[in-house]
Symmetry: D2
Subunit: 415 residues, 4 copies
């Protein structure tokens, strides 16, 4: 009799194939699940392999649209960034995948959810927090945290041995000396030779961007249109592209071809460790820059200040830490949406050999920028003389500060 | 009899030459002051011109070292940035210049300080708040906010007419159709044709960086060394450069040659207006990136989170708004310094056609990054099983959230 | 011919009567406006006096309901407080009054707005920022900042002299040696003898609360019901009161009778000065406590943390600084409303001799508090063993911190 | 042979006596430790009991002075408060106790630390995070999270049975139907009948404060003196008390006698649960109020704003969550200390029937408050006319906002 029904996140690789077989050998019935969030994948091969290894069923879902529209566009709206550098590519996909896996488990009467994440990383946390929020009644099997599993599979050799004993096909492509995670937003590269933070990633590591040194000598010029902070149209050489996924893929292509969006960082994982990661994130890097630029033109300064300090940092951290399905993410996202009311307009850009440049921007949605105001010509209700009073009032505290320093023998006028 | 002694910030240009002459014609005695904060200038010509126009004295002070060590290095230590884009070049120099001008005024028994800033900009605020903090007893003459002055000089033609009537030499170089401000950190370009935010700056605008399209095909590799967050050494092709100003200039040269550090933004001025600015900031762009990267390796994650949200945003805004000589800047700077205790190490970088890339980094100052920890091998006192408890405890709130949603008929497992 | 039509905020006191007469003498036509925001006032006497002094019209509007529902209830929802102490009573009323005055000006074809606020206080800023936001085309006459007015009226004697010359009736009640501002929320006491911050306010100063030493020996018990953070019912001794204004007045009465809500502080004005203020705020003090308490029961901890740090502090400061009609207030208020979705329930309280005590609370709106969870009995999906992992993972950073200290010769285990 | 040496936090109660005996029965050698942090205790009885049950040694340390000076005074300096209500009494003592326990373990060659905290509370986290930071090499035995221990002791009856079988003396005093934790700062009351948040705590629950209804009819007036934010002297009826612990105890007595400092709240535990707690915190409630008041007089407004938003909230949360021995607490505490430079002066207060009132304050340490400035008389360098410019400049954004609303058909002048 089956120990129960498990919905396993299955990628077709050695790790999850081993887990699939091990679960079956342990007496579980397994429904495999694979989300299409835009990664490179040979979908039918994965399906065939799952079936061959004994999965009752293999469910593959195309989640690209919900991924882009629900998460990536919100990331753009709040200029999401983690620790000033990382655009959160992996973190963005996790909630979408986890939610779909819960749906698949529910539809297939599974009591268990399983995944192949390692025990020191962020992804286990992201998946499981999402699982537990989306359906607290489902139980989780995390083999890489089960003592019996860890003991059995202490290294790659044990996996290969088990594969050979259990007729698990092993790819003939040699494994890269780092691990990768790929989706519509980016590809990440971690572990292996990258664990020495002073090792420069080899040229062949990057999969989503051309090496800037090999990028074309001619820049690509294009325009991104936004409505309420969401990209709605990209125009390249007179050709318009709309449609969320299509447009996002076009930005990826522009970024790819021009080598835009590579970073190499040491970051702080949720679970208290530092780790080194390399990421290439072509389209989102461009979209974020364009959005930031448009906000400069149309967003009120104080709203922006509050949004930057509060919504951007919070949302980014929530996603990084796997707290997407949380009351605090809803709370912050409500603010983000509200802030985007006037973020409508277009930004002209140029991508060239690893970088993107803003060439200009315009918007009819806001009266905040005014050439007349900004210039020295007279402003309705503004007189330069007013500034004198503004400065004097702002100086009240500062003059007291300076006088106190003089009294204390530390005049500010000395360097 | 003199109406009083004025210390005037004098640049030798048409505006401040007019102000100098006008002050003299109004009956003041004028001591001119010019700060060397690294800008391009023909110092002796300026001095000669001031004297010729009737200044009692022309004081030129080299403030480069205090500018770099006191302000620029602090900006690097806190990764200062305004509205996600602007590295604050102009704002950084203002306190140093203003403080020196107060000293010059004090030493020359002046009762008045004067400057040529316009009445709608940030700089008048920055200068005058600094003046009022450094010596509240000095009075300020801001001609561009005096009704009688504004009325007399309503446009460039009036200035030229006055110049011709008063024997003020006018440069034969045609004026650029934008205004510029230059210092060791950057050059800014504003106003004129740039007031249309959709006008792309012409190629010849940029003075501090080569056009990325014209930059060398061969990248420049180099290493920046930090001690407590301060750059102490730059190594290029085996050649070491130390010394604060020397090293900063070398970073400027690397950035210049490779076209690094150009931005074009619409920003929010302190006085409630938006304005468009273009900036090229070669060395500081590089130094900031290198510093950020090193912090990834050595800074505690929670300290970083607090520092990012609190110190970086506050210090940047304080500088932008001219609040350098203020108790709140002292308060924040105390935190910044404290946070840099372990930010010691080196970062390898590459500059290439408009961008800078981190190639690797190392540090002996911190135990926070550990290859052993980051990898899957066992960590002293860490067991993957612990993560299960960590996730479960973190999920307590989230499970309640999910259950509430189910109860409310809005299950999270539906997209 | 009239210089124009002015809508003057007129209270009937010596100051605004003088301004009314002065405006008329200067050649303006004046429409007087008085808002009923719950203060003590002899409305018909004020009206008669305005007419008698030459006002074209006297408009008195009862704004109590919009004041309570639009502003006071939002203040309760976000636990508004300024500098940890001040419940913002005066600041809360200003936007409501200013907006109504603009409406009256518009309806009566006035081109000018005028008020009697002094030139160093917060209220001038609050009124005028609201005026300028609500109708930027209206011009402002602030007599206490007009050089000719200030020169004419240098002290109370000048006002009395002018009153006598212009047949302005002067109240026979001797003026208190401090100034007061009264509305439904509180009464404020400032200036005069209170300017010495070490002078204890005399017993007779307080108008809205009984002296705690004179309050009844028997406490008043009552219950406040909330829906989405808004008080909807108050029950005292079995008697239910609903209706926003009625309920607010009942809380005021409970607070008044029991001496609840007095504070005496030195605060920081928007315009860079410190000032000493005494405030008695009976009902809002109670409502805020009750609301805070209910949030403890029903609000998610992380939402609360974010709300406390951003929304509460921001909204309070915005109101204090007169920034009610601003995009940033709208932005923050949107968050506040969102956070109150589940703040439904009731709180039992007791008022007694200057203080209010929570006696208990309950709510059906949230599943966050659970007696079962909070107690040591087993929790669905929670095992005490999980805490071990939670602690170990949280300790990863801290152990490194401790080890670094040991290495640095500063072990944490020494005090 | 011993399984090892354990340093056990031993209180003499039934729980820790059971743990002591159980550890011995399991084969450990046990050194007992009890910290004197100001709680009521019969020290010699505890010691005798420990020895009698088989402890190798009983170490009792008086930590009151370091508790007050290192932690409580910092709490006062930053006005520490958790979730707007809780003064953190228990959290404040934990780091001091835990650090001393590590010292005792080190001095007695123990490899293990043990405590009797339950598995759902905050205290286990606080103790163990402190243990792991102070000496990561020590191992922790938390019996209430050990499956074998929990299974054996499922309720109080099991404890009593074990006591009877193992000759553990049981107090004849009947147990209160709630649990308590007592130290110099407060007594906490939780669990048992208090788990229903709508149950009003019985009159006899409170141990550290007189019932306000029973407090004297005559108020107690007194003065608290501060130096750099630290209370240095308390004067009652002309009698001066200095000395950190003595002074703190005097404030406790004043608070006790007048019924000051009771709260009853539902709070958010670190581990995702809500719990209900009652606390009486007499002296710290008074000291916090006095300190807050003095800061109003002497602290710069912007420093205060930053300190409130970051330092106060962060330090309070860090302490609550057991993160005292952490880099982030050091980082924040550095800011707190810096902010207190001028917080020197004295505050006059009155305690009366459950409340404390400020009667006045003075300071020579700061020039920020000035009677002259605050009053309407002329201020050096300040002219009321300046405020006009200040308002106009601040209104630039707001006027645009109002105009946009008019354009959008939503004029702000309509309510």
């Amino acid at each position: 009799m089956s120990k129960g029904r498990v919905c396993l996140a299955y990628s077709g690789g050695l790790d999850t194939s081993t887990i699939l077989k091990w679960l079956i050998n342990e007496g579980y019935t397994v429904v495999c699940f694979l989300a299409n969030v835009g990664q490179e994948e040979d979908w039918s091969t994965v399906e065939k392999k799952a079936k061959q290894l004994g999965a009752e069923k293999m469910v593959i879902l195309d989640l690209q649209r919900e991924f882009v529209e629900e998460i990536c566009f919100t990331a753009i709206q709040c200029n999401a960034i983690y620790e000033d550098r990382y655009l959160l590519g992996t973190s963005l996909a996790r909630p979408i995948i986890a939610r779909a896996q819960v749906r698949v488990a529910e539809e297939n009467n599974c009591e268990f959810l399983s995944h192949g994440c390692t025990g020191k990383g962020n992804d286990q946390v992201r998946f499981e927090l999402a699982f537990l929020a989306c359906n607290p009644s489902l139980k989780i099997i995390a083999p890489w945290r089960l003592p019996e599993f860890i003991e059995k599979f202490q290294g790659r050799q044990d996996l290969l041995k088990y594969a050979s004993e259990n007729n698990i096909p092993v790819s003939s492509t040699p494994k890269t000396p780092w691990s990768m995670d790929d989706n519509l937003v980016h590809c990440s590269y971690e572990a292996g030779i990258l664990e020495d933070p002073n090792t420069t990633p080899p040229k062949e590591l990057w999969t989503r961007t051309v090496d800037p040194l090999d990028a074309p000598d001619k820049p690509t010029e294009f325009t991104v249109h936004f409505e309420k902070g969401i990209p709605t149209k990209v125009v390249v050489a007179g050709k318009e592209t709309t449609g969320s996924v299509e447009l996002f893929k076009l930005l990826n292509k522009i970024g790819h071809d021009n080598g835009v969006g590579r970073i190499d960082i040491v970051e702080n994982r949720f679970i208290g460790l530092k780790s080194r990661g390399c990421y290439d994130t072509p389209g989102l890097t461009i979209a974020r820059l364009a959005h930031l630029d448009l906000e400069g033109l149309v967003m009120d300064s104080r709203v922006r200040e509050l949004r930057d300090q509060f919504a951007t940092l919070s949302w980014s951290r929530q996603l990084y830490n796997g707290m997407y399905f949380s009351p605090e993410r809803e709370f912050i996202e409500n603010s983000i949406k509200f802030s985007q009311e006037n973020v409508t307009g277009e930004v002209r850009l140029m991508a060239y050999k690893g970088n993107t440049y803003v060439l200009g921007r315009k918007s009819d949605a806001s009266n905040l920028y005014s050439e007349e105001d900004a210039s020295m010509d007279s402003l309705e209700g503004f007189s330069p003389m007013d500034t004198t009073g503004f400065i004097q009032i702002n100086a009240i505290r500062l003059k007291k500060y300076g006088l106190q320093k003089i009294k204390d023998g530390q005049p500010l006028s000395k360097s």
